[in-house]
Symmetry: C2
Subunit: 456 residues, 2 copies
């Protein structure tokens, strides 16, 4: 398939129809009206701003969640923005129908209206970066900057976003660490088009610093400080935020996600195909066959999770998996990989691929130097004891079976776990070389590396 | 048993009888006569010296090998000492009966006379340390110093030597690294008696430096240089040689052997027993039962060895065992311990205790950073490939069985082996959890840690 054909076909699927556009326009009109009305009723001098991909007209067809920011004058005390902003959000939410409170740096209202998710976020009405006081304040500036600079390349952004989603490199959530929508927009603005961004995958990485708004000239000291800080933290890219020289737009982009983009961009340019944008779901396979093929073992911990949003839960699951990896490797089990996720509404899982599930019944236990008080103690207390250099060693009986080892590690608090999971993981069900049916495909994707593999 | 009783009983066994003394005296007389005669015949101005425990009267009953040194005048060229010394040795050897050439720093003759081993070693007739030119030259000075300072404490030395033999801490050979006879003599001279040396096991270690001849006052610069050098090399003791301030008599003493002495001295003083001097041979046990108890595995390599003295062979066997330890641990097998030795007249063995003999069929293979030429290569060449940070990883198929792994490591020269063993080890027979009958007890002593264990 030719590049043009592929792109044309993708565009057909991702550019919103006139019908959808009309719906969105109407929606925005209604929401703005309601917001103004409610602000007035509460006697608040608040301006409603639409931000995000909807406001920038870079949303993908069918994906039109609304971000409505409620901007307070700069001289409003922060406490008032928090409280009265939430109050206003609730009032609007009530009018729209169902709503709930969500928590980020500050609480905000998440409502649903005409089947569309509407976030109502209090913020300051900032004019430039010097006014920024809360994390969300920049959004208004981002929207403004993109709209002023995109120059009709909205569909190029849509292509890039869809491509990044297809190759699993999209999303700036802390547990994804991929490309954000804003970063995609900046790259298109800077390099001209979807294809040009892809062609520059290697170049961009080598350049390292992207400065579309020329901050390095306008505010060299501040911008250089940003560059130095981010380079020191070994970030793959430093994209100086066009609206704030103190910020790296790509601060949360991981090397892994840039790597996916790096290889997939090249492959797509070599052999364009729809598959990159819309990967056909894996048919899956037999995880037990995969275990046999590799000669490895799978242990799965299933446990209840407290009510938590993914943003909070997923990093804690990962932290716990890493904790097991470290603790088990100290115990002589090699962890070849791990995988975590939700299991149903109230449970989560940690999967660990291990080199074995049994170990010797004895372990060599290094002791102190022999000529110390502790050395003489160690000598007295151990039956089989010997020296290597000046250090004493002894044979120590240990649990041999992986389940016993894991239970003991948990009992002795020797696994670093996510802080809200400490208690619940202790009561985990531990499965060896077996997962319940709903996790079979997950286990297969994990063990076969299709999940994180670059070639799938 | 009281200390006095034990000591009395030991002395009875280790002090030579009048009969033995008479035999030794006669032997020495004869040997001296023959040596003088042969030197004269060859027109050599050589003085015969008896050195070692026989000459110092510190030999253990029944253990009366002769060290006869053939001392050349200091103005003899080294080459002449080597050649004519060997010639003289051969002449004496012929007169005595059978003999062979042995190799140390210089070749010497090892003869047998009246069922006693007689070493005939060419050296210089040195007056003090400034004259020392070859490693053996000091022996004459050692003998002289001990005889001048021992003050009739010969049996105290015998007790200490027998004790050190009993606890397996005696012998200065490079593959033993224990206490030498000369070191035992110095300790008795310095601390007064066998029991006093034992009582000071901790004190001596803490003092670190023993200077019986007062070199630190007489030659402070040279002696301090010796102390600094040996302390830097982390030797357990620095015993400045009474006849040479440049030398640490305990240079070859290992921490392990001092550790044995340290604990056994204390135990003996607490509960004196003959067992320390004459350990009753272990009855041995079942090595297979030991493997089952520990849940570990034993692999044994049997291979031919070239004709080599123990001094050369044993360090090479140890080096090879360490080589396997390192190579196998890189391959994911934990080596809990190793053991080496001769097997019959022409073979040697390396035993390795392992945590397992099978591993997964796949290994995680770390590759280069993704954005390099090598990274793109790695990506192309591997099927299952993923990123951790900026580094690529791939799944690699590996041999799973220990025999295949060892064979492959040897084929690819990935095991550091003793230099004369490289070829022969490649043809080794590899046994898993089985040893031939003559090695069964050796395997048991190794696996049960009775061999190196401090408590046996």
């Amino acid at each position: 398939m030719e590049m043009e054909e592929v792109i044309a076909e993708v565009l057909q699927k991702i550019v919103p129809t006139e019908e959808e556009r009309a719906f969105v326009k109407e929606l925005i009109g209604e929401l703005e009206g309601i917001a103004r009305e409610k602000a007035q009723e509460l006697g608040l001098e608040v301006k409603p701003y639409f931000v995000g991909s909807l406001a920038k007209d870079t949303y993908l067809a069918g994906d039109h969640d609304v971000d409505l920011f409620l901007a307070f004058p700069l001289d409003t005390p922060l406490e008032e923005v928090r409280e009265r902003g939430l109050e206003l959000g609730k009032e609007i939410g009530k009018t729209l129908g169902e709503y709930e409170i969500a928590y980020a740096e500050h609480p905000y209202v998440r409502a649903k209206y005409r089947d569309v998710k509407v976030d109502l976020v209090p913020c300051y009405d900032v004019r430039d970066w010097k006014d920024v006081r809360t994390a969300v304040d920049r959004s208004i500036l981002h929207t403004k900057w993109v709209n002023e600079n995109l120059n009709g390349k909205n569909n190029e952004v849509r292509l890039l976003k869809r491509f990044l989603k297809g190759i699993k490199a999209y999303g700036s959530e802390i547990y994804v660490r991929g490309f954000s929508g804003y970063l995609s927009e900046i790259l298109v603005i800077k390099y001209g088009s979807f294809v040009e961004v892809l062609e520059k995958a290697d170049f961009i990485l080598r350049q390292k610093v992207v400065d579309p708004a020329g901050w390095l000239k306008r505010e060299p000291e501040i911008a250089m400080k940003t560059v130095r800080r981010e380079v020191e933290e070994d970030k793959p890219l430093v994209v100086i935020d066009p609206v704030d020289p103190r910020r790296n737009v790509a601060a949360n982009l991981s090397w892994e996600k840039y790597g996916r983009f790096y290889f997939k961009a090249d492959e797509f340019l070599q052999r364009p195909s729809l598959e990159f944008f819309f990967p056909t779901g894996k048919t899956g396979g037999d995880y037990l066959a995969e275990l046999r093929r590799k000669g490895t073992h799978l242990i799965t911990l299933l446990f209840d999770v407290p009510e938590m949003v993914d943003d909070l839960l997923f990093p804690q699951l990962e932290r716990s998996a890493r904790g097991f990896e470290k603790a088990l490797s100290r115990e002589g089990f090699e962890v070849l990989g791990w995988n975590t996720g939700r299991y149903g509404a109230e449970k989560a899982f940690v999967m660990l691929e291990l080199d074995r599930v049994e170990r010797p019944r004895v372990k060599i236990h290094p002791g102190p130097e022999f000529f110390t008080e502790r050395g003489r103690d160690f000598y007295r207390k151990n039956e089989r004891v010997w020296l290597v250099g000046k250090r004493l060693y002894a044979e120590k009986r240990v649990k041999e079976n992986i389940i016993d080892v894991v239970r003991e590690l948990l009992e002795k608090n020797q696994v670093a776990l996510g802080k809200n999971l400490r208690e619940t993981v202790k009561g985990a069900e531990i499965l060896v070389d077996y997962v319940p049916r709903p996790l079979e495909n997950e286990a297969y994707l994990f063990l076969s590396r299709e999940k994180e593999g670059l070639k799938h």
